[in-house]
Amino acid sequence: MTTFSRADTSVMGHWWWTVDRWSLAAIVALMAFGTMLALASSPAVAERIGVDSLYFVKRHLVFLPAAAAVIIATSLMTPLQIRRVAVIGFVCCLIGLSATLAFGIEINGARRWLSLAGLSVQVTEFAKPTFAVLTAWLLAEKLKDNSFPGHIFAVITFALLIALTISQPDLGQTAVIGAVWMSQLFLAGLPMALVVGLIVLGLVGLAGSYLTLAHVASRINRFIDPASGDTYQIDHSLAAFANGGLFGQGPGEGTVKNALPDAHADFVFAVAGEELGLILTLVIVALFAFIVLRGLLRTMGETNFFVLLAVSGLLVQFGLQTLINMASSLQLIPTKGMTLPFISYGGSSLLAIAMGVGMVLALTRRRSGQGEGT
């Protein structure tokens, strides 16, 4: 891909030489795995729900180039543009989330999808990266100008957002948003006492949802005591990993995956385990870890506080989502519907992840005149 000369000062040429190409390579590799697994996992699901067997594959192949375009377009922006896009995007998301509650499509007792121009959009997915950037800006601004009520704004916007996501209800996303927000406050130097207080508050929130929401209680009970209910998905998920063994059954050769209702989305990791085997699945885990940890390490050298907070917030979100999905498939935590970035099927999630990663790439580009550039 080294088609750009060092001396090339065109937009793309400049981008190529300043962007983090290692992370980019890892993202491309994940997208390749994602394409392969979409081909393997989705036809059985598509046939089950009575659509063309390549329905999901075709859609995935439409979304994938779109996602790539989003990554490149976003990563071309300057930190200032990123901030603006994020703030505007976040406002749009708040409006979208309110609209979802009013006109959304109800699936399994939750309103999470908004129909926009014939496309179903899960607004929460886009709220996550934009909110992370917004929070980073508010906290960085507070540091820059102590009179700026950054903390208050951060609390107000957070309260607004989670009020909307809880009403859907979408507890998993709420938890991710909360965790990202707390980690950003933590990085922004929140006193340890308050950090602990927030963690306790989060745990109380989780306990509260266990006690008040029946489906949450049921999932957690089934996790703690598998005999207490239907563990069909998780049983088949674990069986898929075992069936895969060290080297896997080969792409498309899995059999347990056919019995996994959510093979193309929340349980795509199990399909990877069955078809690609332990070694390649570990490679996938390593790719995710590489993207997250390399990004965090790079921000260590960052002097722009907004960039530091924004990048780490986005990476924590990316990492948490990955970990929750994998841990669910491996029965390390109760089953929680969460997509695996770049690999699970899902248009909204793919584009939103692309946006978040694009922002990370944009903010981690080598910039001349680092410092208080924004």
């Binding site: 059985a44 046939e47 089950r48 729900i49 009575g50 540091l143 820059k144 980690s183 933590f186 990085l187 922004a188 130097g189 598998p226 239907d230 563990t231 069909y232 998780i234 049983d235 088949h236 674990l238 069986a239 990993f241 075992a242 895969g244 063994g245 060290l246 019995a259 209702p261 385990g273 085997g277 332990l278 699945t281 570990l282 885990v285 390593a286 995710f288 870890a289 997250v292 940890l293 965090l296 390490l297 921000t299 260590m300 002097t303 506080f305 530091l308 907070l309 780490s312 924590v316 990492g319 970990l323 994998m326 841990a327 491996l330 029965q331 390390l332």
Partner: protein, 574 residues
């Protein structure tokens, strides 16, 4: 300027804190990824010890069910075995659209009702049977629908390769593979839980002969049904057990389709050999004579006055083949004289008769391994009149198997062995002496005599020294007996010089035909069955034919059938 500196230092301090905390956060995330990796290795490579055991729990449960053991005959011929089949069930909690799923399923399994399937799939639970035991082709078709929520359970279907041949002995299982009748029922635990193969005492070769001959005779004499038993006299093993009409154990489910079929199945399922009790008529004279000889109230040379019917308590006891003269004990037996037998019974007395019939096992539950059992019906109170009618087999009803086992004891040297449907690998040690060897030897001669010269000539099978006794009883009805409805029996044994097997045949309500001069007695209907069975089965059972004129064979029936004494002489009855 100081403000600028303080801002710079504040920002530097904030950055330092952020970097330290970033390191902590990064370390936590790295650890989390490491945990994922370790867990991945664990579930992939060490799944047997992990929770994936639960994923296999369903299959393990199925595996355990698969093990219902086979039932074989005494020579190892397969009588009942398991065939693995797929059974289709639905999980309504997974079914996305019950209407679509029901329509699609009925498309490939047209025998199902769409409304029925829809109702099942719309139910609340997580498990509804849709169709048990489907073919591999049907399973493929259902799989091809690709609808989530249709699942298969591997089940075992019980298969009886010989169909109805020994169905009353083997029995059958229900939908859940649980034994409902016969050995399948009585050995359910051994077969299903301990998975032990059961080897029956049945020999399907002779079973087939007995069933065929009996069925032919039932047809010929337009009987309602019949039964037959072949018993090893030295072990109590049942080699054959036939009850007709019988049924195909694979089609029992169809019996529930209509009241008429239900009634028919009830009749077919009825095991006449162990569950049916019948007045056996003159067959009981075997026991009467044995008791008389054993107790010493009569010997082979004793005489009884059989000139006139006995009138007692409003009853008249008369002879069917009336000789109207004094008869010796062998003659009473040979001509099947009711009068003579009744007089012998009076000599024996109620107490002795009752004791011996009890000793012969006739009054208690059989040891046969079937739950389909019935005990004898006997008179209470047991009066002198009862004793007289019991002498010729009326007023007491026993199962054919009880009678066959008692006859075996009478002729095998005097030892009663518990009957069994399970092959014995050793001679049983739990036999009980009921009569002396001498009485037994006399009885063998008497039985041979009946076939040689008496009412049982139709049971003869040349070369096999058949002995036996006919029995023709009128069927009891409320308050009396039906003249034209008979239970016609023959209990035979062979070879009488050294008996090995008892063969019993019985027909329910045979109608007289031209060939039998209108008779439907045991001698005309049941005896020929025994003859046919012995001549065909004896070679299979390894019994060599003998020259009946040879001295050794002659001795089997060498009885002095004493000439009747002059009128007025002899021992009068009390």
């Amino acid at each position: 300027m100081t403000e600028r500196i303080s801002f710079r230092s504040a920002q530097k301090k904030a950055l330092d804190i952020a970097r330290t905390r970033l390191l902590v956060g990064g370390a936590l995330l790295a650890a989390a990824f490491l945990v994922i990796g370790v867990r991945l290795v664990d579930v992939t490579l060490f799944s047997e010890n992990g929770p994936s055991r639960q994923a296999n729990a369903r299959n393990i449960a199925v595996e355990k069910k698969m093990d219902r053991a086979d039932i074989v005959d005494r020579n190892g011929i397969l009588l009942a075995t398991g065939l693995k089949t797929a059974s289709l069930y639905g999980d309504p909690s997974i079914i996305i659209d019950p209407k679509v799923a029901a329509r699609a399923l009925v498309g490939v399994l047209p025998e199902l009702s769409e409304a029925d399937v829809l109702q099942k799939l719309s139910s609340k639970g997580e498990f509804v049977w849709l169709k048990r035991h489907i073919t591999p082709r049907q399973k493929y078709e259902v799989n091809r629908l690709g609808i989530p929520g249709f699942e298969f359970d591997e089940e075992e279907r019980r298969v009886y390769p010989l169909g109805r041949l020994a169905v009353h002995a083997i029995g059958f299982t229900g939908d859940d593979n649980k034994g409902l009748a016969g050995i399948e029922n009585s050995f359910n635990t051994a077969l299903s839980e301990r998975s032990e193969r059961v080897t029956l005492s049945i020999d399907v070769r002779v079973q087939q002969i007995l069933r065929r001959e009996l069925a032919a005779q039932i047809k010929k004499f337009k009987a309602l049904g019949g039964s037959g038993v072949i018993l090893d006299v030295h072990t109590g093993e049942v080699l054959s057990l036939v009850s007709l009409p019988d049924f195909d154990p694979h089609t029992i489910k169809q019996a529930s389709r209509s009241e008429k079929l239900k009634e028919e199945f009830k009749n077919q399922q009825f095991n006449r050999t162990t569950l049916g009790v019948y007045e056996l008529g003159s067959v009981f004279k075997i026991f009467n004579h044995a008791i008389a000889l054993e107790t010493g109230v009569a010997n082979m040379a004793s005489n009884y006055d059989a000139r006139k019917p006995i009138r007692s308590h409003g009853f008249t006891i008369s002879d069917f083949h009336a000789e109207n003269r004094w008869l010796t004990v062998p003659e009473i037996f040979m001509h099947s004289s009711n009068i003579g037998s009744a007089k012998m019974a009076l000599d024996i007395g109620v107490a002795a008769q009752r004791k011996f019939l009890t000793d012969l096992g006739l009054m208690r539950r059989s040891s046969i391994e079937l739950s389909e059992q019935q005990q004898a019906i006997f008179p209470a109170p047991w009066t002198e009149l009862s004793a007289m009618t019991i002498a010729y087999g009326h007023g007491i009803a026993v199962t054919p198997l009880h009678a066959a086992a008692a006859v075996a004891a009478v002729i095998n040297g005097g030892i009663l062995y518990p009957t069994t449907l399970i092959r014995r690998d050793e001679l049983p040690a739990n036999g009980k002496r009921v009569i002396s060897a001498q009485t037994s030897a006399d009885m063998r001669k008497l039985l041979r005599l009946v076939v040689e010269n008496g009412t049982g000539r139709n049971a003869e099978a040349p070369g096999y020294l058949v002995g036996g006794k006919t029995g023709t009883a009128e069927k009891p009805t409320a308050g009396g007996y039906k003249r034209k409805a008979l239970i016609s029996s023959f209990i035979g044994a062979f070879p009488m010089n050294a008996p090995r097997y008892v063969v019993m045949a019985q027909l329910d309500e045979p109608k007289g035909i031209k060939e039998s001069y209108g008779y439907a007695t045991g001698g005309w209907t049941a005896a020929p069955v025994v003859s046919q069975v012995i001549s065909q089965a004896a070679p299979l059972l390894g019994i060599a034919p003998v020259d009946e004129t040879a001295p050794n064979a002659r001795r089997a029936s060498a009885i002095k059938v004493a000439t009747p004494r002059a009128r007025g002489q002899g021992i009068a009855t009390n």
